[in-house]
């Protein structure tokens, strides 16, 4: 997976969670549905954001490949 893809997925999941929370606050979405969306989106947000900042940018040294 590319670094950029991980960021897009992570931010999308975070965005879904925030939007679901806002919609529930203003009464446009049932609280239970918003909670369900957040329960699904939060793990994706956590893992993919971590995968994004964990991923190399592709400009590293050539790895040591042994003698």
């Amino acid at each position: 997976m590319k670094k950029r893809t991980a960021l897009i997925i992570g931010l999308s999941a975070g965005g879904i969670s925030v939007i679901a929370g806002l919609l529930a606050t203003f009464g446009y979405l049932s609280v239970m549905v918003a909670e369900l969306l957040t329960v699904i989106a939060f793990p994706i947000f956590v893992i993919f954001i971590a995968l994004w900042w964990n991923a190399k940018s592709g400009e590293e040294d050539i790895p040591f490949i042994g003698y």
């Binding site: 609280v31 793990p43 947000f45 893992i47 971590a50 964990n54």
Partner: protein
Amino acid sequence: MIEHLLFATFVGLLFHGIHRKVIARIQGRPGPPIWQEILHTLKFSFKETWIPKTASQTLFVAIVFVAIAIWSAALFVLLSGRSLLILFGVYLLHKIVEHGMGLSSGSPYGKFGAIRSVISAASELPLLATVAAIYFFTHSLSIADIAAYQQVHGPLLVIAFPAAAAMYLVVLSKMHYGPFSIIEAKEIVSGNMTEHFGVWRAGLEVAYALKTYVLLYAFVLLFIGQLPSVLTLLLMLLILISLSFVCAVTPMLSPYDTVTIQSLMTGALVVYIIILGVVMG
């Protein structure tokens, strides 16, 4: 919504750090700073991440997502005052997560941890008895109803002390470095978590932080009642420190002794419920 989860994760990790600090101070060691577990989680998230060749790839990764999701759901159940049975269900799912985590890695240490997680399923018995004892008094399994009952009749900690003691044992069973932490004992490296490193371990740390927060919050909500947020957090901290004290002075039990103690506690609570049934009709 997500702000609750981020807050609970942060506080849960801080609680883990305080837990380690208190244990260290009681044992006469300086111990790590209290924010150590937050740094620990960040450190793991930067570490090289891969999936072992011997692992069941899908389960190895999926289990991390499931671990975070179930404790996120548990937090929402508490916040919205839904049924205690859902919380019990999450606790059961966590057992499957612990088991799956160990088995998915393919490592013998992970598998030992997974097997021990099955043995330690006895920790669910005191929780089941606690749920029954709470229902006996409140005639409801809705967390909102239980909190309302306590506003009228006083804390269940006083009214149903044996049930509170059983729940305390349940929370203790899930604490790191405790007498019941057999699934992550050092003689099996890190038990079921041995092969989960890098981002996967960071995810698990987030899930465990949520778990600690949820269990402590549940204890306060079920046995003391609905209180202002700051007071609730303070009580959660006090309960955590008492648990840390127990963990600091108690050696890790053998797997079979953990089952014996948890079964004895459940037996005592069943006797208590029967006596209540006879006395109160």
